[in-house]
Symmetry: C2
Subunit: 332 residues, 2 copies
């Protein structure tokens, strides 16, 4: 089969490679659509010690089952492989499973014509749904999971929350769209890239601004979602959250400073780190994407997998304003 | 009257000063017992820009009302002055009141024979209760407030929680004693000062160890309470908390690095900053201290106020193993 292989820092190559061999309980999926995640870019930059080249990256994938009990059906891949047996898996927090693995990290991912995955990691995609839209389920679930954690501990419901989302990539944008879906009417989005601000504005998420140029009039958000996760955005989040408020930290850009422990304590602010999603979060997200709760999704950019190297380079160089590029092995 | 006045960095002087003049709604209190707080020591070291000498420090106080409707009765002082009108005050989170003031910070505190305070900041102390024990209410309320916030968002009840308290000063020790009171059976306490470890062990809070010399066998605490709040303790907290767990940050030692945003995110850890207490937390704490729920309290060291300068110096030099020194203006 053909695959886009991460071969060295800042290098991915589209080339022939053996098809994966499904292990017991696994099936083969013919990939239809697979999104490029920030973590794929992180690896491509050579910043992720867990993703060692040569490796097929990619974990936001939808495809057609070539074997197993769903043969012929369109399926969403839950890329997080968990044991199903530990206290976390049994306790509804499978994303914390100590044995978890992600495809495209230490095992082959989905930037390929085919990928192998356990049957129990598949979720049926409605037959009428565009696979490219369905490929957005993974980042949407990341956002929806984070909001679920936020709502669980907030002092007021989301529909009475003044919220700031930092970062207009797909997770940030989907967090803002999910907030809107949950009745939140005061949503600001901070993004330094003007093309991404335009995309977010077009998606209608609220007020978009450049945090390097402008400061919101009353920087006192009950909820701040940091979908970037860098030293600068953490410092900004600590600054603009209101006393007693909540910072939800999804991004993993860097582990630099920026966290203001003194303000967090004196102003009784809570910080939640959130990681991925559960199987249920994926099911919820797929449904929301399908029923239009998260809008038209026309901000996705589709490209053929064979042009993947160009897509990675465009993202690296900041030439791409779209919050998400989805690669299609069968052509777009 | 006589008062212990913070006059310069590392200097407090016991000397004559005019008695305070109660404003409208305030009464005069004859101070019986007042604890030395870590924040008083922080000011004494010259590290608190909010506490400018000359100033009477001290806010953990109990005394006899010399005027007002409680005249002659023993009263606990709620040292946090809040507006009672804002959304936070009305919403049960008065500790977040944007207009809040603390006695001994920008207005005179209680290291004195007399202090003025609003009548509504007084809580009656049972007549049979030792004022020195009652003076522990403020740090106990800080600990109990923090546990209340922890319990609100934990995934399991406190009695099924494996907890670590960092710091064996009064707030840390009272947090450990409160955890025990709430049915928690697995409590470790990390403290570098051997005299404080002995005091904590004598108080019977669980396993006490020196985190610089020894590491707990299985460092996977669902709950870590950082009652120190320094770069080192934050780093330690981030390291030993289990995935999906909770760090409660009470201490304000320094604002250095130590926070591991990457681990917090990848392991979905929550961090709550907690600040002081509400009036209700003080009432609860006084009751718990009175009914013995927090043990015998014989670890308190009593000294006369006139020897306050020595007490500050002993604490500064690390010569004092007692988790709390309470000063008594009327002699001990």
């Amino acid at each position: 089969m053909k695959a886009l292989i991460y071969t060295a820092t800042e290098e991915v190559r589209y080339k022939e490679t053996p098809s994966p061999l499904p292990a017991a309980g696994e099936v083969l999926i013919e990939v239809q659509a697979v999104g490029i995640c920030g973590s794929d870019m992180h690896a491509y930059r050579g910043h992720d010690p867990r993703r060692v080249p040569p490796l097929i990256l990619g974990h936001e994938a939808v495809g057609r089952a070539l074997s197993g009990r769903n043969k012929g059906r369109h399926m969403l891949i839950n890329p997080l492989i968990t044991c199903g047996e530990c206290a976390d898996c049994r306790g509804g927090r499978s994303n914390l499973c100590p044995h978890r693995e992600l495809i495209g990290m230490r095992r082959s991912g989905a930037f390929a014509e085919q990928v192998a995955i356990a049957e129990r990691n598949l979720i049926p995609v409605p037959e009428t749904m565009d696979p490219v839209h369905a490929a957005l389920t993974e980042p949407a679930a990341t956002a929806i999971h984070a909001l679920r954690l936020a709502e669980r501990i907030q002092y007021q419901p989301l529909n009475r929350t003044r919220a700031l989302v930092i970062g207009g990539g797909s997770v940030g944008l989907l967090a803002a769209l999910s907030l809107r879906d949950q009745g939140c009417t005061e949503i600001d989005l901070a993004e330094i890239n003007p093309a991404r601000r335009s995309a977010a504005e077009a998606a209608g998420v609220g007020t978009c601004f450049d945090p390097q140029a402008q400061r919101p009039a009353d920087a006192a958000y009950e909820l701040v979602i940091d979908a970037v996760g860098g030293a600068q955005t953490r410092a900004y989040a600590c600054e603009v959250v209101r006393p007693g408020g909540l910072i939800v930290h999804i991004g993993l850009l860097d582990n630099g400073a920026g966290f203001d422990a003194r303000r967090m304590t004196l102003q009784e602010v809570t910080f939640i780190g959130t990681y991925t999603y559960t199987h249920e979060d994926l099911v919820t997200s797929l449904e929301k994407l399908h029923n239009g709760a998260l809008g038209s999704l026309d901000w996705i950019e589709r490209r053929p997998l064979r042009e993947g190297a160009q897509a990675f380079d465009d993202l690296l160089q900041g030439r791409c304003g779209a919050p998400k590029i989805v690669l299609c092995p069968l052509g777009k």
